[in-house]
């Protein structure tokens, strides 16, 4: 007999309080999500094990997710009894023994290495973490627990409000849950920004008994890492969102769709699924009700198009990930021909809080037509790359300059590549645009999955477009011929321009081909025009210099001179 939800909450509360008080011993939290590992976090964990053993100190090490300030990775938090929790940045294995001696033995909190403290306490020389420039503008809903809790400890999640949204949903009717999500104004975060409640309504109206909720964590967009970060940092927030979606649409099964190579993402998600089963939050009779729902992980191979919603279903069925023609839409004929609904990780990760705090609360955040927050991945030539969540309507400029600290080494920002390879390339002159689906689209800067790549004056726009077009060409699935043939021609043309073979009229030809590709079967070909159009629109002169003057103003294209 599983514990009742009240009992679960009480147990969770106790566990979380002990964690915060560092009982029974000091807690050391190392961020070992993908970006932490790329910065060597695994060696930091080892260094702590060794240093603790050497000094004979007992402490518990937790591997946590991504707090967001990737620029300061490896990031380590220490919770020592009687002290506020401290977040440290740039902790290399070499520093660890010293930090252990200084703070854990000699009680010197090493303010010089700290990024900030959590909570109300005070330590001389260390700011409150959420007041530092990287966090100040942030409002963390989907990322509320990321880097804060132990992602594989379900008690931590429950103690922080987890599964209360589900509990509440189960006391409502499916129709009421859909209405609540509709009230929130939530729009999909996978690219197309489709209203989530409306999509759920389609599935609710579809005949059962078997129906599927599919969560898209393919996240093949270079420059985007927020979906994987959520699953590595707080998998339960997504999984709770999926169960709520299942209840709202009277679905029976869910799949989390992840590329095989993200092993840590898969491992943490699977552990969370196992815990849910153990606690009666998955399977039949969820939380003692008559509602049953199950979730498994479906792996995909290397294929960008497998993130397209109908190709995704083909991949789960084990076939080549090629899109299906629509109609019929997935809500009519989906996975294994059953009605299905596909949502992005971020979309579903908002749902628990929307249920817990109400659709109206969520609708109060953001802009008229883009509700809630934007989860952005800042990378490229930027001082503070990382993962941040800000209310919609925050300007791109604030995100890049205040949170991201602008371009390094006093360089000028030249352009922004947003929304993945099928997004836009816009000039830095457009940086005042608010993070809002429609305002961004109006500038040709798709918000899409939230990737924002900042490039300074050293980047050649034509060469960057070549990188994107190479990706688009290599990843075309080959099913429909406009995309299969067109992307090859487009790439050839862009290559010609970078290699001094550009001819007058090439930009018009590129635009015309992009236009032709809008007749493709899926978004891959249809959206190929976006980066082309925005790049030519904002950087027409640079294309002209390449084509007519055989000159690359950034000095990047080797076949051309800088001065012509």
């Amino acid at each position: 007999m599983p514990l009742s939800f009240d009992e679960l909450q009480q147990k969770a509360q106790k566990e979380w309080e002990a964690f915060q008080r560092a009982a029974p011993s000091t807690r050391i939290l190392v961020g070992t999500a993908t970006c932490g590992r790329a910065a060597g976090a695994q060696n930091v964990v080892e260094a702590f094990r060794k240093a603790l053993a050497q000094e004979g100190i007992h402490a518990l090490i937790h591997e946590v997710g991504c707090l967001g300030p990737c620029y300061a990775e490896p990031i380590v938090d220490i919770i020592k009894a009687g002290h506020p929790r401290i977040t440290y940045g740039n902790i290399t294995p070499e520093i660890v023994p010293q930090l252990v001696r200084d703070y854990l033995i000699n009680d010197n909190p090493r303010a010089d290495m700290a990024l900030g403290i959590h909570g109300d306490g005070k330590i001389d020389g260390i700011p409150n973490l959420f007041e530092i420039p990287f966090f100040k503008l942030q409002m963390r809903i989907a990322l509320r627990n990321s880097g804060i809790i132990d992602p594989i400890n379900i008690y931590h999640y429950i103690a922080n409000g987890g599964y209360s949204g589900l509990k509440k949903a189960l006391e409502m009717t499916s129709e009421q849950v859909v209405a609540e999500v509709q009230k929130s104004g939530l729009r999909g975060r996978g690219g197309a920004a489709f209203p989530t409640g409306q999509k759920w309504q389609f599935l609710l109206g579809a005949p059962g008994p078997t129906k599927y909720i599919l969560c898209n964590c393919e996240e093949g967009d270079p420059g985007a890492f927020n979906d994987k970060a959520i699953l590595e940092s707080d998998p339960h927030t997504l999984l709770e969102g999926m169960v709520i979606a299942g209840y709202a649409t009277k679905a029976t099964n869910g799949y989390v769709f992840i590329r095989y190579e993200h092993r840590e993402v898969i491992r943490r998600t699977q552990m969370a699924i196992n815990q849910m089963r153990e606690f009666g939050l998955l399977g039949s009779n969820i939380l003692g009700t008559s509602f049953g729902f199950d979730i498994s992980i479906a792996l995909t191979g290397e294929s960008y198009v497998s993130g397209e919603e109908t190709a995704l279903m083909e991949a789960i069925e084990g076939k080549r990930a090629m899109p299906r023609p629509r109609p019929p839409f997935p809500a009519q004929v989906g996975l294994w021909r059953k009605p299905s609904n596909i949502n992005n990780v971020k979309t579903l990760s908002y749902v628990p809080e929307i249920l817990r705090r109400g659709g109206e609360w969520y609708a109060g955040i953001g802009t008229e037509r883009s509700k809630g927050t934007a989860i952005v991945c800042l990378s490229g030539n930027i001082n503070r790359p990382g993962l941040a969540e800000v209310p919609m309507g925050t300007s791109l400029k604030s995100a890049i300059e205040e949170i991201g600290g602008g371009a390094p080494n006093g360089k000028q920002i030249k352009l922004l590549q947003t929304g993945g390879p099928l997004g836009g390339i816009i000039s830095a002159s457009q940086i005042e645009v608010p993070l809002d689906f429609d305002a961004m689209a109006g500038k040709g800067a798709i918000l899409g999955s939230g990737g924002i790549i900042v490039a300074d004056e050293r980047t050649c726009v034509v060469e960057l477009l070549k990188i994107l077009c190479t990706f688009i060409y290599e990843e075309s699935c080959g099913k429909c011929f406009p995309c299969r043939i067109g992307t090859a021609h487009i790439l050839d043309l862009v290559k010609d321009i970078t290699e001094g073979r550009g001819r007058p009229g090439d930009t018009e030809r590129l635009l015309a081909m992009g236009e032709t590709l809008t007749s493709s079967l899926c978004g891959h070909g249809q959206l190929t025009i976006s980066p082309i159009r925005s790049a030519i629109n904002y950087f027409g002169d640079e294309f002209k210099a390449h084509i007519e003057e055989k000159r690359c103003p950034a000095g990047v294209c080797k076949a051309l001179g800088r001065q012509g």
Partner: protein, 151 residues
Amino acid sequence: MREKVEKVIDSMKGKKPTILSALLAIQEEIGYIPKEAIPEVAGLVGASANEVYGVITFYTHFRLEPPGEHFVEVCWGPSCHVCGGKEVMDAVLEELGLSSDGTTKDKKLTLKRTSCAAACAQGPVISIDHNLRGRMTPEKAREMLARVKSR
């Protein structure tokens, strides 16, 4: 090899395998898709060898040849690109004596270019035997490869 394949195939039975999930499991275990595996997978899921082959050649990470002893991935995605990824890629290609994806003559290293390793904030990124390393420079990449080669 046959036993290795059969072991993976046996472990998939009863788990509602698909062509893709069976192939993923085989490559994860064996490092590539040996040709013996194709009829086995076909038999497991009730598909034709043609269909299996079609799936193998669609997903770009499936290999029909064994990889080298060590596996090197270099990201050429746009985030890494604007941070100097091209210089890192050029250094790796030169160090390995390759002009694109492939395995070195001595079968020691296999190079695969990747379009994003999901660590964009740490660009440029490379990975050696699935261990990611960010903030890469051509010099650091050369050093790391030299160490792997001498192993």
